[in-house]
């Protein structure tokens, strides 16, 4: 006799990478997601900047810590109230640029000098003592739906900071240089946008 097979939808079982996008945080011009008509994999326009290659993809984290509300008359909690809640995005950036270093180290300024007659072009990164704020966007594929083979899922965290202990190893051939970053959301959860395309236009 066959055992129980729970009801399932195999199309909802997803794998696949995510792309990360970032822009400087501006309280006067809050970051917005690209237009909903834009297809999965579309290049998000400036001020969004791609974070590029990663060592092991992107990890989107959510953690809620709750306090149990207890009463003497019941052995288990009668309620749970949120004590803390956080969204994090962890990634090990694999493109060794000054822009990557700025993101990993939590902020800074990049001063570029163009080449000229007898003058080479340079870029200089000055790490800031204060933590810089960014807006972070994430895009991955959502489960396919009727008429949509590769719909998008997009996440917007309007204000994040990057705080991490970054160690970059310079090796001859063992591994590329990487920059481990953790971006932490600084906004209430209600301001984090998690949206996906799930039906085509009629």
């Amino acid at each position: 006799m066959a055992g129980l097979t729970p009801t399932y939808n195999r199309l909802n079982v997803m794998t696949g990478m995510a792309a990360l996008w970032m822009q400087p945080y501006d309280p006067n011009t809050p970051a917005v997601l690209p237009d909903d008509d834009e297809v999965l994999g579309f290049t998000w326009t400036t001020p969004w900047e791609a974070l590029g290659a990663t060592l092991e993809g992107v990890t989107f984290g959510f953690a809620r810590k709750a306090n149990d509300i207890m009463i003497e008359e019941q052995p288990g909690p009668v309620d749970q109230r949120t004590e803390s809640l956080s969204f994090t995005v962890a990634v090990e950036l694999s493109e060794d640029t000054l822009e990557t270093m700025r993101r990993a180290y939590g902020g800074g300024e990049i001063n570029t000098t163009a080449p000229g007659a007898g003058q080479v072009g340079t870029k200089e990164l000055v790490i800031s003592s204060e933590i810089q704020h960014f807006a972070l966007g994430l895009e991955g594929q959502a489960p396919p739906r009727t008429g949509l083979a590769t719909p998008w899922r997009r996440v917007l965290i309007p204000d994040v900071t990057s705080v991490a202990e970054v160690e970059t190893t310079y090796r001859r051939s063992d591994q590329q240089r990487t920059y481990k970053c953790t971006f932490t959301s600084l906004v209430p959860p209600e301001q984090v946008v998690i949206r996906e395309l799930n039906a085509p236009a009629s």
Partner: protein
């Protein structure tokens, strides 16, 4: 939700918006407010919008693209250019 930011890509991957516009001026700034892009002693793009001639804009855009520097232009570059 549509992207309501009227500014658009320039510099790396973008194109000079004032190219062929008959001497019209373009405002440029660095993507990050703390950054600077120095073409020469007189021509420096900062984090604040600053107006540049069509000739300077073209030079700045070309140099920014070569050095992978992101700038914001106002008006934004024409679509498809």
């Amino acid at each position: 939700m549509a992207d309501s930011n009227p500014q658009a890509a320039a510099g790396s991957g973008g194109a000079a918006s004032s190219e062929g516009s008959g001497g019209s001026k373009t405002k440029l700034r660095c993507l990050y407010p703390t950054d600077t892009f120095k073409l020469d002693d007189k021509t420096v793009v900062t984090g604040e919008f600053k107006e540049f001639s069509a000739t300077d804009t073209k030079k700045i855009m070309d140099a920014a693209k070569a050095q992978d520097v992101k700038l914001i232009s106002d008006p934004p570059p024409k679509k498809g250019s």
